[in-house]
Amino acid sequence: MSKVLMKGNEAIAEAAIKAGCRHYFGYPITPQTEIAAYMAKRMPKIGGTFLQAESEISAINMVYGVAGAGFRVMTSSSSPGVSLKQEGISYIAGADLPALIVNVQRGGPGLGGIQPSQSDYFQATKGGGHGDYRLIVYAPASVQEMADYTIKAFDTADKYRMPVMLLADGTMGQMMEPVELPETTVQEIEKPWAVRGTQNKRKHNIINSLYLNPEELERTNIERFEKYKVIEENECLYEEFMMDDAEYCVVAFGIASRISKNAVIEARKQGVKVGLIRPITLWPFPNKVLKQTADKVKGFLSVELSMGQMIEDVRLATECKKPVKLCSRTGGMIPSPEQVLESIINLTKEAK
């Protein structure tokens, strides 16, 4: 299988098609519009749906409809647009439907900017919409991973009957890298709950998130959280880099992890024993490995493109056993490897 040079956004789109997604609904917003443009070209040629909706709200509700019918379906947007989708995401979670939502983040709050950001971490991992629910959140760090985790996202969404988010950022969406797209054979799993017509052969299926009886709603929520426990056990993904003998641990995901890797390599050259833990799933968050690491290292550095959001989860995971410092830029700015290196050096001075 040969590699092709692709933009991150295009890799997501083509990978989704490879994963059997034939229905895409979106609304233009920078910096992810290439996904829509790619789908607009490809879907009609393979008998799929591309539809530019009247709003992000409509797009996510079209996703809800297709997901209810049990077909692989996705939407993509960027931060302000993803805020609009939260209502629909909550309904999709409440009705236990599989779907992929891609957020190629830009700076916020409000209209913010169009430069890359990771400041939707809270929104992605702490619910975003109303009610008790979770999303599985994948944070790719290369164009190859944009493709790989798009495919994986469809599989886990189907497996657990829940919405899954791919959380990228403007840099990841726009950068070009060689990528190898696997020839996947999609194995459509049975979806006896889907609404495709009763054919007058069974009782009607209902896709719904309304439970007027509080006991019933509580039970439904508790059952869903039992499922989330299984996901926390089985679906957490992370990468360890130079952690074997590390005395300090950098935690970073997505584009921030790539910058951090360079800084870690440079720090090692200067004799600092530092490594990197890169969460690949932001939920479930790699709590176990961070907790274990807290017993081995002297301190942590959370590197983020935000005012510091993931840092709260790092502190929770490590139970504040060791100092956790922040190195960040926000509003569309990106920390340089030098800034990260300096923060690592400062950490070694503060946490001895």
Partner: protein, 250 residues
């Protein structure tokens, strides 16, 4: 021989609507249309938020409960994924003409091949009788306690008239269910709207002028009279758009 019996496309679940509320008649007309076209087994209905929120329990076909106002978007998704199935939405005036106006207009202008049953009773019923986009000038509701004041609360939206200014939608008709004759006409319109979809014609919306005896503060009989005396003069019944006429001309 049966002259009249409950249609098969309705379940046996007793309706939760208030005594005399004409939602029940409209549900039945939709079910009769599905029965007559023999499409129940391939139909997916989309329920709104509002009094008809639990319509999913009453229609025997597959059902989806949508977020407030989003039924036309949900129906669009369903139809695009399953073009050979029959997809309808059942929405009230708050759902369709207020929070879901964008979804409605754009489904119409795409001539989305779906059927929309739009129940206009000029009030928010489920939440206890607040002003709707279709509440009449001067109409007293919980949120227009001194009567709807056109100066501050505007004038009603005439959905059928407004949508019929669009070029794309295939069929738009306003009917009522306040007497036997009107119910029979409503039945014809609803049947036509579903037949249009089966024939691939496109977007059909039937606006059904309905009642809310409870929140209008009227007996069921008086509510039917109020439809005649107040609603229909403001919301004239009739066909507002029928592109089959254009087709014949071509």
């Amino acid at each position: 021989m049966y002259v009249f019996k409950k249609p098969n496309s309705l379940t046996d679940k007793p309706l939760h609507y208030c005594p005399g509320c004409t939602h029940g008649i409209i549900h039945r007309l939709v079910a009769e249309a599905l029965d007559e076209l023999g499409v129940e087994g391939k139909t997916i209905g989309v329920a709104p938020v509002g009094c008809a929120v639990m319509a999913y329990d009453y229609f025997a076909c597959d059902m989806v409960e949508a977020a407030h106002g989003r039924a036309p978007a949900v129906a669009t998704g369903l139809k695009r994924a399953m073009p050979d199935n029959v997809i309808f939405t059942y929405q009230g005036d708050g759902d369709l003409a207020s929070i879901g106006m964008a979804e409605t207009v754009h489904a119409a202008t795409r001539n989305e091949n779906i059927t929309i049953i739009f129940v206009n009773n000029a009030i928010y019923g489920m939440t206890g009788g607040q002003m709707a986009p279709t509440s009449l000038p001067g109409q007293v509701t919980q949120t227009s306690p001194y009567g709807r004041d056109p100066k501050t609360q505007g004038l009603p939206i005439k959905v059928s008239e407004m949508l019929s200014t669009l070029d794309a939608p295939y069929y738009i008709e306003r009917v009522a269910v306040n007497n036997v004759k009107n119910v029979k006409n409503a039945k014809k319109a609803i049947l036509k709207a579903f037949r249009n979809q089966v024939e691939g014609k496109g977007f059909s919306l039937i606006e059904v002028v309905s009642t809310c005896p409870t929140n209008w503060g009227l007996t069921p009989q008086k509510a039917l009279q109020w439809v005649d005396e107040k609603m229909i003069p403001y919301y004239p019944l009739g066909v507002y758009k029928d592109r089959s006429a254009d087709e014949k001309g071509e």
